[in-house]
Symmetry: C2
Subunit: 353 residues, 2 copies
């Protein structure tokens, strides 16, 4: 698969390009806006890659993109159709399957972030074989990875960590990439989840690796780097989530981060999916992450806090950020409403380049 | 597969018996004693299950068991032939493959702890299909497991944790099972590695699970238990091993241990396989494990230290144990040379039953 930002500009470990932008975003018969979360992330963070959208007759969601059929998208230069849907079961409807076959017949590769593999459908597997097109499943990782070694490697790396799952780690990491690039600093988003992988055009679905290879996967994702640029690594889970903390710890050790940014959603009543578990306080969570990170990167520091204040009124959001700054002595911003400029300042000031 | 201790006595999560003791231990053409580590563990910890050994013409190792062919073992009542070999590549030689086919033809099931799956060899897969015999790979886990929940469950659980890999966690856990059973306390070894799984007749190869399911695997392995007995869970890796700490943390969270036993090898120069990494001191390691374990089991305590003193002379071993007792305030024994009676005393005294 392609690990390129725009064709030819490497932003990930070197790999053979087999699919990539420009993209047609497939929205199918999405019942609401939430169902196209993946497509929306792609259109928001990589607008230059997205030529158009393909909506089914009963689709209830839309992006700010031209409507196209697969044939029209191919004629306009699209390389790959991305299934931009996220649904609870992670499976495709019979209509989705028929549409994927149409896209393959039109000459497009097809990429998906769903749980179910594209080639689990015989009609899709046969159409791909017939047309010679590529199927890419962001949740599956075909490459073999060595176990992690913890050995120091060159390059600068930042990792987002969280008090919980789904608190804005991907968004924060991408916002930092945009901010650093705006300043002329080389910086590349390194994706660890399916939506991030589709946005980055590459990455490692870290929670889908075999357990022995978690830290090895993070080392593979952000190899030694000599150009002075930053690898900005998307965090996963939380050291305090009873279901997934092992993934978070392996990622932390493999990432060898110079810098951490802590992500948090104020007011969340409990850990995602687990009403019995309270969200840890930020200070405890950050200290635990720093402590664990020191095993492979003794000089790790925290450079900021990213709050997801989407459920707060603006004055309450400002108050939450100020309170966090005072409690932790670090710049705190909501990346969506306030940007990440002060976190980037802290990063560039405090980590020697 | 069978999760029974002796036929019919459940010692693991309820499963359908498909293979199990009595065993014929296959030693093949083992070049030295190290190569039959798995078989030796089985013969030492479950002598009542082991009817005989099958040695090839150039085998350089032996157990204290009668030599038998597959046909003789079957006639003597053996159910399963266990490939008792451990080799660096984890693969079978052509002679091994031929012998497995002979065993299947003789009516035996076959179990293996090697990396390579038994049915990766077409001759074995075909022979199993032809004879209706079962192939069991201890490193592969066919069942689907839910993600961990961290919810409290009934029963008493002990987990062995280590400063490093391969410091004696399996041996210590099995020694505690033997000691508790000797005292009439219900206690069952819960295996998390391939040798342990063959010894237990069941378990979860925890480091072979998909990363998202580590803690779920530990919960599955030691479900709620109402009979007042102990689940003694075999630890894996170390929170301080840069390659595998994610596995250790997920296992710690999923195990919800009431009690920890810390395992350590004095004098080990560095972490296994990683000359750059020092072994952590025992106090730091134990505190980190207790701290992390409290997420899902706030009342967790440490009840002892198990030292592997195999490289020390007896006076130095005694000195190392006394020093550890003074430093950590816990009973310390080498399970091989001193037993685990004082650790068992501490466990039964300090954890309310």
């Amino acid at each position: 698969m392609s690990a390129t930002n725009t064709r030819g500009q490497a932003t990930g470990p070197p790999r053979q390009a087999a699919w990539g932008p420009p993209y047609l975003l497939y929205l199918g018969d999405a019942p609401d806006e939430l169902a196209i979360k993946t497509a929306r992330g792609l259109a928001y963070w990589r607008p230059q890659w997205c030529l158009g959208q393909w909506r089914g007759p009963s689709c209830q969601a839309s992006l700010d993109l031209p409507d196209m059929t697969a044939e029209q998208a191919r004629a306009a230069g699209a390389d790959t159709m991305v299934i931009g849907l996220a649904n609870p079961g992670g499976v495709m409807s019979p209509q989705n399957v028929r549409d994927v076959v149409i896209a393959l017949e039109a000459g497009l590769n097809v990429a998906s972030g769903l749980h179910q593999r594209l080639d689990a459908h015989p009609a899709i597997a046969q159409a791909a074989a017939r047309t010679g097109r590529v199927l890419f499943d962001a949740r599956h990782f075909p490459d073999s990875i060595p176990v992690g070694t913890g050995r120091p490697r060159s390059g600068r790396r930042l990792l987002t960590v969280g008090t919980d799952c789904s608190v804005g780690k991907m968004y924060t990491t991408l916002a930092l990439e945009r901010e650093l690039r705006r300043r002329g600093v080389k910086a590349d988003f390194r994706a660890t989840g399916q939506t991030g992988i589709l946005i980055a055009g590459g990455g490692v679905p870290i929670d889908a690796l075999v357990a022995d290879f978690i830290s090895g996967g993070a080392e593979w994702l952000s190899p030694a780097r000599e150009d002075g640029g930053w690898d900005l690594i998307e965090g996963q889970g939380s050291l305090f989530h009873p279901s997934y903390a092992g993934v978070s710890l392996g990622l932390l050790h493999g990432a060898q981060p110079d810098a951490l940014v802590l992500c948090h959603e104020p007011g969340r009543p409990h850990m995602r999916g687990l009403p019995e578990f309270r969200v840890p306080d930020m200070k405890t969570c950050l200290e635990a992450n720093l402590q664990a990170a020191r095993l492979t990167q003794p000089n790790v520091i925290a450079v900021g806090i990213a709050l997801n204040t989407s459920k707060l009124a603006p004055p309450a959001a400002m108050h939450a950020c100020r309170a966090a700054e005072e409690a932790l002595g670090l710049p705190c911003q909501d990346p969506v409403t306030m940007g990440v400029d002060r976190i980037a300042d802290q990063l560039l000031t405090c980590v020697a380049s």
